[in-house]
């Protein structure tokens, strides 16, 4: 189910809190149906402010592009290198996540991918893209 908007937080806080429950929240416009991510106050297609939260975990999409970090650009991910980040088209939106479940060198653009939740993982790996071929 959709989360209640946190009265004391921003829309980004909803997304951030969702990750701790292995949910990847986007918004679907209640007027035109466009799915958008990252979260924002109005629909990028029709400017409607009516939306429902959608959890994209489990949804299938295609890999738009990816990169493999060989060097950390933040002290918090020094131990994670090498790691891959992917941008995928899911439900018409372009979403970003860590890529796991395969050797990153074997990734190909256009591959079928799925958002997968990982209980107990750190927030930046709680939901990742995995190959779903």
């Amino acid at each position: 189910m959709a989360p209640a908007d946190r009265p004391d937080g921003t829309l980004d806080d909803v997304f951030r809190a969702g990750l701790t429950e292995q949910k990847y929240y986007a918004q679907r416009c209640a007027d035109c149906g466009t799915t958008r991510w990252p979260v924002s106050a109005v629909c990028t297609a029709c400017w409607s402010d009516a939306y429902v939260w959608v959890d994209l975990v489990g949804a299938i999409g295609t890999l738009h592009s990816f990169v493999i970090y060989r060097r950390a650009f933040h002290t918090s991910v020094v131990g994670d290198v090498p790691y891959a980040m992917g941008v995928a088209t899911i439900d018409g939106a372009r979403v970003l996540a860590r890529v796991t479940g395969c050797q990153p060198e074997h990734l190909t653009i256009g591959a079928t991918v799925r958002l997968v939740g990982h209980p107990g993982a750190a927030p930046n790996q709680a939901v990742t893209l995995e190959p779903a071929g």
Partner: protein, 391 residues
């Protein structure tokens, strides 16, 4: 496009500060040097300047005011520009617009940064490579998911271009090698050591498909130019370099949207600049392309029509970017080797080539037109300048 603006304004002064690793010198210090050098180069005095359009580190509030205070200026028009790497050309465009509107007459445009210093103050700074303070609204949820740094954003584009068009690492290498070769002719360039394709391919990995040689430099430095009317330019010291055309185009929908990683704002921005100037790609003598990363040069060469979309890789591999190539590009070494001052030094170099004052080993023979590009602002803002040597 308003073709009435064609050749109506000119760049009459150019200047740059020391560039490189300059701890202890702030962006304001460096831009002071560059601005004064540009005004003196024009043969003008402080009292002639009544406009200031500039930029520094993006976390400095009202940078132009702080700059103007240091230079002792009052301005009919002044502002800080906020389009990332597209800002520096935009500052020249805004200067033209402000003079055209009658708000001022003679404008200093410039940019200064202390990016090397900011990224080398501590070990944490060296890892995080931040050139500006982080604010919540600024960062979108990318960092919390693990996506950090401009190299990664542009590497996403490079990877997609490779997948769509078969562009190779060697193609990116051809860009790095050509600009490094130019830097060896530039005594002020930050890195002048020779670079071979073998060394390039063995470069320290950063974020695939980029190695260190695909990434522009961390630089402390500044550049500046003086803009006024072509009419006034005729009476000044330097051979006039006319602003023949300019364009802007910003894909504000973002780098992830549509095909923005592969077809950049350069396409629409370039068309406007070509239309205003009455020139096309085959009329351009030299190009100074915003080379934050090797891949971006390939994408922009395509978007500017120097070759077809997807053919940028073979185009650069064929040697077209060298001084005697079809489109001599980044003739000072560019941001990959001369120093990364967010395109400001490339505006300066675009002018310099048209003055014909460079030593022969650096001069594009008989250069009459320069195209300069600016790219940035979360990867999607773009500005274009087409300059022409005055008669």
């Amino acid at each position: 496009m308003n073709t009435a603006l064609r050749d109506k304004y000119a760049i009459v002064g150019i200047g740059q500060s020391d560039i490189g690793e300059l701890p202890g010198r702030t962006a304001l210090d460096l831009l002071s040097d560059a601005a004064i050098a540009a005004v003196r180069d024009a043969g003008l005095r402080r009292s002639d300047i009544d406009g200031l359009v500039c930029r520094g580190p993006d976390d400095v509030y009202c940078f132009h005011q702080r700059m103007g205070e240091r230079l002792g200026l009052n301005a009919g028009f002044s502002t800080t520009v906020d389009n990332g790497g597209a800002s520096q050309i935009l500052s020249v465009i805004l200067a033209v617009m402000a003079i055209e509107a009658g708000l001022c007459e003679t404008v200093v445009c410039g940019y200064g940064r202390d990016a090397w210093s900011r990224t080398h103050r501590s070990n944490v700074d060296r890892v995080n490579q931040r050139t500006r303070a982080i604010t919540e609204e600024n960062e979108r949820p990318f960092r919390m998911l693990g996506l950090y740094s401009p190299p990664a954003m542009h590497a996403l584009g490079a990877q997609r271009h490779m997948a769509r068009y078969g562009t190779t690492k060697e193609d990116f290498g051809a860009v790095a090698l050509a600009f490094r070769e130019h830097a060896q002719r530039n005594p002020y360039a930050q890195i002048r050591t020779p670079l071979t394709m073998e060394q390039y391919l063995a470069g320290r990995p950063i974020v695939d498909p980029f190695t260190m040689f695909d990434c522009s430099l961390r630089t402390d430095g500044a550049g500046a130019v003086v803009v006024t009317t072509a009419e006034r330019a005729a009476d000044l010291r330097a051979h006039p370099v006319l602003i023949s055309g300019f364009g802007t185009s910003n894909n504000l929908s973002g780098w992830f949207a549509d095909e923005n990683m592969v077809t950049t704002g350069a396409l629409a921005s370039g068309r406007k600049a070509y239309a205003m100037s009455g020139l096309g790609p085959s009329d351009i003598s030299t190009a100074q392309i915003y080379d934050c990363f090797t891949y971006m040069v390939i994408a922009q060469l395509e978007d500017y029509g120097f070759c077809a979309k997807g053919e940028g890789g073979p185009f650069v591999r064929a040697g077209n970017l060298t001084l005697d190539g079809a489109i001599p590009s980044n003739t000072s070494g560019g941001q990959l080797s001369e120093g990364h001052v967010e395109g400001m030094l490339q505006v300066v170099e675009g002018v310099r080539q048209l003055r014909h004052e460079l030593p022969p080993e650096r001069q594009v023979t008989d250069a009459v037109t320069s195209l300069v590009s600016g790219h940035g602002g979360n990867e999607v803002c773009h500005s274009t300048l087409i300059l022409r040597r005055g008669d």
